[in-house]
Symmetry: C2
Subunit: 163 residues, 2 copies
DNA sequence: ATAGTAACTATGATAATCATAGTGACAAGG
DNA sequence: CCTTGTCACTATGATTATCATAGTTACTAT
């Protein structure tokens, strides 16, 4: 391909987001960061992406101030990657993607009856299903408000990757 | 590249969504469909994508039952593309992307003071800002509930593309 | 001194992308 | 009836991103 089209100067807000989010590697890395994975190798293993792509995307994400790189040990040099406020604010996008997939992207019974990932509202304990507002207490759901429990199938898949 | 990684069999819901949405062309086409653009040439012109990519993506979107192709005239054969229920349910994702961009992706004053695209709630008339729940009446916002008014800069950009 | 771990960088084959041009089916105007 | 125009695509070739694999750097641990 020739140089990928640059959408960062469009005035359409969806276009501007698509410039960053219209990339599977970026989405997978963000997912892992939202799940609390912070280390390079951990993200390479869990996403299944090559280290050169993870490296390139982290450069991009840092440049866009969505992620920050932090040395958590000097000798030997070890780093972790964290979401910034701008990055954490992408929660709604990733959560909307999750909700859509839970509703449409699985065959009947594929996950064993329930959702692939079950979320409950920390504040009131209600199962939030695939809503953007807690069905128990009516509060809008934000990053950190939810407690996730992967289905057995998802748990097994994740264990296989980190093993 | 070798064959792009296939995420359609992962049990992670974000991964399954990323399989479809982690692609700028798909996001731009969906955006146009949500804006009511239905014709092939119109979408080619507005997205700036080449016709071969729009064609390939429509094949994918139809296969995934996110879009349907409908002949609106027999002679000469003319077609339009519409979102299915599964496609319309992606509204939350695109709207979350819009909200994030409005909050983070513009320089101070770049759009002339207001948002790049202003939305008001049809039901109560309130400006929804960048919320997922109407700040006026408290209702969750869904596809069709909003009335959009592009900023002068965005309006000019769109006019330039269709001209 | 050897093995191990974390965080990367380098290389080469392959495939997706963009720009440009072209096709098929028909309608309207001169 | 012949040229021009419109819409919905398909075809071609150069360029570049991506993946798989291997290698590097900088240490610690045994």
């Amino acid at each position: 391909m020739p140089k990928r089209a640059d959408l960062s100067d469009t005035f359409c807000p969806v276009g501007r987001s698509a410039e960053l989010l219209g990339d599977r590697a970026v989405l997978l890395i963000l997912r892992d960061l939202f799940f609390g994975r912070r280390r390079f190798e951990e993200i390479v293993a869990n996403t299944g992406l090559g280290p050169q792509i993870v490296s390139a995307r982290f450069k991009l994400l840092i440049e866009q101030v969505v992620v920050e790189r932090h040395a958590y040990r000097e000798r030997p040099p070890r780093y972790e990657y964290r979401l910034t406020a701008k990055g954490r604010d992408l929660f709604d996008v990733l959560y909307a993607m999750r909700n859509w997939a839970e509703r449409w992207a699985y065959e009947e019974g594929e996950t064993g009856g329930g959702p692939a990932m079950r979320y409950t509202h920390r504040a009131c304990g209600a199962d939030v299903g695939t809503s953007t507002v807690c069905p128990g207490c009516g509060e809008p759901l934000r990053y950190g408000d939810l407690k996730g429990e992967p289905s057995p199938a998802l748990k097994a898949e994740q264990a296989a990757k980190s093993g």
